[in-house]
């Protein structure tokens, strides 16, 4: 709940800031770029919990 709310806000802000400061083309891909960055650093999401896989 908290994660999706904050995530939505963050994506919106980042998209518009990127559109304003970097270039209008960046507005569309800023969200996607963020997905990739977040998935690289924390694959379970910013507020998700790391699940430990037992073999």
């Amino acid at each position: 709940m908290l994660g999706s709310g904050l995530g939505g806000l963050l994506i919106g802000i980042v998209e518009n800031l990127a559109g304003g400061y970097i270039g209008s083309g960046m507005k569309e891909i800023a969200g996607f770029a963020m997905i990739i960055v977040v998935l690289m650093i924390r694959p379970f999401g910013m507020f998700g919990e790391r699940d430990i896989e037992r073999v």
């Binding site: 569309e28 996607f32 997905i35 896989e53």
Partner: protein, 348 residues
């Protein structure tokens, strides 16, 4: 009449085709395809060309999604990179077409390293989202790099002339696509039968178990990405030549969905499935149009105006129907028919 597959040696397990009649019919099919451009009219020939190009692309995706089990929604990104690499090299810098085709393979392969590296840690839905993001990012990058790609204006591409043979005419170009499709088919079949292919399938079935067996997950996943992107890029170059004009609009996101639909309809993880699926998916919108145009002229008009929307609807419908009634795809149906034919009138 064979009654089953009896493998007694290891060599039989990795044989390309397991019986002489299969070889015979394959040669007959290839000869028929070589002769086809001279017998078909221009309309049917365009479908044959599209099918051959799509087979190449679908086989490329099949290595990644079918064999290795990594779902990619971003293959249109590799397709468009390959097309642009060819267009820039050949039309802009006047390189020979063979260099263009090599570039059309290598540039997407390099791009796939960029998208593949972060994907190593991800699975399932997350991987699909990352590759989806990649295809949109690629589109924007191409539009922004105006000095190289002409931005939104696109690049015109001529039909190539390779080793003194001109592929200017439609029939010759179909032959070029046929050669590429057959080479790709042989390459994917050989990859599947080798150590690498077995590693891919092990990763698909259970990557933890594969790792325990000593398969280097990172290396093989990246290898799957690179191979897949290389083949898809070459298909993209062919598609660009076919359209005779390369632009971002020529490669809509629907192509990614179409490629996945082909694999699901054909049967995941089977080269034969990719070929059968391509034939069905490419001909489906046209066949539907023909059926409905017999019924009334108004529906025919709807098909011309809303072609894209109806296409995506049809793909969705076909995917749902296949997942519900024949999850193993056309290849599964073919195996069922073959078994029923051999065992009739007994059930097994």
């Amino acid at each position: 009449m064979r009654t089953g597959d009896y493998k007694q040696t290891y060599a039989e397990l990795v044989a390309l085709m397991d019986s002489p009649p299969v070889w015979l019919w394959s040669v007959v099919l290839v000869l028929a395809l070589v002769a086809a451009p001279y017998a078909l009219n221009a309309y049917a020939l365009s479908f044959l060309t599209i099918i051959l190009i799509t087979v190449t692309g679908a086989l490329g995706l099949n290595i990644l999604t079918g064999y290795t089990g990594l779902i990619s929604l971003g293959h249109v990104g590799f397709l468009v990179t390959g097309a642009y690499a060819y267009a820039v090299l050949v039309s802009k810098y006047h390189m020979p077409p063979l260099v263009g085709f090599l570039g059309a393979g290598i540039v997407p392969a390099l791009a796939s390293l960029i998208v593949g590296a972060p994907s190593l840690r991800l699975r399932g839905l997350y991987l699909a989202i990352t590759t989806l993001a990649f295809s949109f990012i690629i589109n924007t990058v191409i539009l922004e790099m105006r000095w190289l790609t002409n931005g939104a204006r696109g690049i015109a591409v001529q039909r190539p002339e390779i080793l003194g043979i001109s592929f200017e005419s439609d029939a010759a170009f179909t032959h070029l696509c046929l050669v590429v499709a057959i080479l790709t088919l042989l390459a994917t079949l050989n990859i599947r039968r080798s150590r690498v292919g077995r590693a891919f399938v092990a990763i698909r079935d259970n990557d933890t178990a594969a790792r325990v067996m000593g398969i280097n997950l990172h290396a093989y996943k990246l290898f799957a990405f690179v191979t897949s992107a290389f083949i898809t890029g070459i298909a993209g170059a062919l598609y660009g030549i076919y359209l005779s004009f390369v632009s971002v609009e020529g490669f809509p996101f629907l192509l990614s969905i179409e490629a996945l639909a082909i694999l699901i309809v054909g049967g995941l993880g089977s080269a034969l499935g990719a070929v059968l699926g391509t034939i069905l998916i490419v001909l489906l919108p046209e066949a539907t149009r023909l059926v409905f145009s017999v019924l009334s002229a108004q529906i025919d008009a709807v098909f011309t105006t809303g072609a894209q929307e109806l296409k995506s609807m049809l793909y969705g419908l076909v995917i749902i129907l296949f997942l519900r009634f024949q999850p193993r795809g056309l290849v599964g149906a073919w195996h069922d028919i073959r078994r029923a034919w051999v065992n009739w009138p007994l059930r097994y």
